[in-house]
């Protein structure tokens, strides 16, 4: 819409001016933001000062830090037997190991023996089995290095075991380098405010039904009067008594439409579930999903994302839009305001995810929604078990879904 059209529209609305604005803000003590150049100069100067300080600190630590050794092999388990008698456990203990390279086309084997030529009984052997891989790629002649407890604590992925083989004579230090543990990329966002899912839950459909029953005409026998036959009112012959038939979308069509229109399709496991408790907003459920199988989009495997699903649980007493006067029946039944409303309005498939569930989700990036603290909004949530997505009474295999997504 053009600016001139906007102006005309504003005029046509005939909106009056607020009369007590200044008075209101004066009472509040609100002052307009000062945009004085002095503030900008002060801010800029403080930023520069911080940058200089940071650079200085970095330079200082860089100069004083001990030189780093090259990283050791990450594919094999390096086992070192240090032969130094009564070596202190916590000190950095180094040995000059003899490393025998394995024969080609055999399972690679690394033997590291202490330099002092101790008895073979103290020899420790580590095996890695990668047939067909050139041993040169497996064995690296890095110096045997042990990590001190401090550095061990700092290293999240390598662990060092200190084993005393004989009572006080020998200390065996075993450094285990990374095992193939998948790294999880955590993109999740914390919700601003959440509430607990209460045990006492009233379904919104139930409430609507109660209100609906209350407003229905009742005949003397206590049975609801049939539709279009209200006492004293003749049914309009032109008005259709039944709603026109609607051709529902089939489950397959639903999946195909979602697969084509979504930005991202993933299969993942629910790791966390939050329910909203925000003033005046529609209730929503925030799900942290660990992606196991990315089908479409940029999200990779083992990424943890937050997804907002419309509908959830919240306290009725927090809902200013809810008319409590209509809920006398519920008050009578439960006798308390502290009930939780289950509201799955707007969620077509009405899934209520629980931790540990696996779902196929069709997502779209709606910009980072600060209100919902979410990475993605969701078109559809479909339970996924044993390689099959279940929607309604139908099941869809992973291959079928991939076909829909890629078509």
């Amino acid at each position: 819409m053009k600016e001139t059209e906007k102006k005309a529209l504003e005029k046509a609305f005939g909106l009056p001016e607020a009369e007590h604005k200044e008075e209101f803000f004066q009472k509040l003590g609100y002052k307009e933001k000062r945009r004085s150049p002095v503030i900008f100069i002060t801010r800029a100067a403080s930023v520069v000062a911080m940058a200089v300080l940071a650079l200085g600190l970095w330079g200082h630590f860089r100069d004083s830090a001990p030189p780093r050794e090259k990283p050791t092999n990450s594919d094999i388990i390096a086992v070192t037997t240090a032969a130094e008698e009564t070596a202190p456990v916590t000190d950095q203990t180094t040995a000059s190991p003899d490393i025998s390279k394995p024969e080609e086309n055999e399972p690679s084997e690394v033997q590291t023996t202490a330099a002092s030529g101790e008895s073979p009984s103290t020899r420790t052997v580590a095996h890695t089995t990668r047939p067909g891989v050139s041993p040169s790629t497996l064995v690296q002649t890095a110096p045997a290095r042990t990590t001190s407890p401090a550095s061990r604590a700092a290293s999240a992925k390598s662990t060092t075991h200190i084993v005393h083989t004989t009572a006080a004579t020998r200390t065996q230090i075993v450094t285990t380098l990374p095992v193939t543990e998948p790294t999880i990329i955590d993109l999740t966002l914390e919700p601003f405010q959440t509430c607990e899912k209460k045990e006492l839950v009233v379904d919104l459909a139930e409430i609507i039904e109660i209100i609906h029953h209350d407003t229905q005409a009742v005949d003397p026998q206590g049975e609801p009067a049939p539709k279009g036959d209200l006492p004293g009112i003749d049914p309009d012959p032109l008005e259709p008594t039944e709603p026109p038939p609607v051709d529902p979308m089939t489950d397959k069509e639903h999946i195909i439409v979602c697969a084509k229109t979504c930005d991202t399709a993933v299969i993942g496991e629910v790791k966390k579930v939050y329910y909203s408790d925000l003033y005046g907003t529609p209730p929503f459920t925030l799900v942290d999903l660990l992606v196991k199988n990315p089908l479409k989009g940029d999200i990779g495997e083992n990424t943890l994302i937050s997804i907002a699903l419309l509908g959830g649980y919240y306290d009725l007493c927090d809902d200013s839009q809810f008319d409590f006067a209509d809920l006398d029946d519920i008050y009578e039944e439960y006798g308390t305001l502290d009930i939780t409303l289950k509201d799955l309005q707007g969620r077509s498939d009405e899934q209520d995810p629980q931790v540990g569930d696996t779902f196929l989700m069709f997502l779209y990036d709606n910009g980072r929604n600060e209100w919902f603290s979410t990475n993605y909004d969701c078109y559809s949530v479909i339970p996924f078990n044993e390689g099959t997505a279940h929607l309604g009474e139908n099941s869809f295999t992973l291959d079928q879904i991939k076909e829909y997504v890629n078509s």
């Binding site: 819409m1 059209e5 906007k6 005309a8 529209l9 504003e10 005029k11 046509a12 609305f13 005939g14 909106l15 009056p16 001016e17 607020a18 009369e19 007590h20 604005k21 209101f24 803000f25 509040l28 003590g29 609100y30 002052k31 307009e32 933001k33 601003f192 003033y279 005046g280 907003t281 529609p282 419309l310 200013s320 839009q321 008319d323 707007g346 709606n366 910009g367 929604n369 600060e370 209100w371 909004d377």
Partner: protein
């Protein structure tokens, strides 16, 4: 509060917009101003929402809820159905009379959407959160409403 409020948006500007929003809902100048002030008081009680789009969304959400409460307090007969007339209409509005009539023909929800988007310049993402619909739905509705308005205006010109 010392030294005033450090807000991400200009609250004075938003005051006018919230006032307009309340006004088109309750159709009473004084009630609209009361509701606007109540909106800001409630908003200021929640300092952790005072940034960016969160501010806008919270302001409009509170205002909307207060207007709904106001509806319930008053009987529907008390609320004028049509657009304001007489003193409320500024001079010179006569030139946009046809547009005004066309606006009056629109359902209330459509007028609300037009005001939010084109008069108050509320981002679509905030409107979608406020109304609980997707952004594409908001865009589709806006497109349809503006088309309807144009058709209505052309019709009136022909008559």
């Amino acid at each position: 509060m010392k030294g005033g409020f450090d807000m991400a948006i200009d609250l004075r500007e938003e005051y006018d917009k919230i006032f307009r929003y309340c006004y088109i809902r309750v159709r009473d100048r004084h009630t609209a101003e009361d509701l606007t002030q109540e909106t800001f008081l409630r908003y200021l009680e929640r300092p952790h929402y005072h940034s960016g789009t969160k501010t806008l969304r919270l302001l409009y959400t509170i205002a909307r809820n207060l207007c709904v409460d106001e509806y319930r307090r008053r009987s529907s007969q008390d609320l004028p159905e049509d657009l304001p007339s007489g003193a409320d209409i500024e001079e010179g509005v006569l030139e946009s009379l046809s547009l005004q009539q066309a606006l009056a023909e629109l359902p209330y929800e459509d007028r609300e959407l037009l005001l939010l988007r084109y008069v108050n310049d509320v981002p679509v993402s905030v409107i979608s959160g406020l109304l609980g619909v997707s952004r594409s739905t908001v865009n589709r509705r806006l497109k349809r409403i503006t088309e309807d308005l144009r058709i209505q205006l052309v019709k009136e010109e022909l008559e």
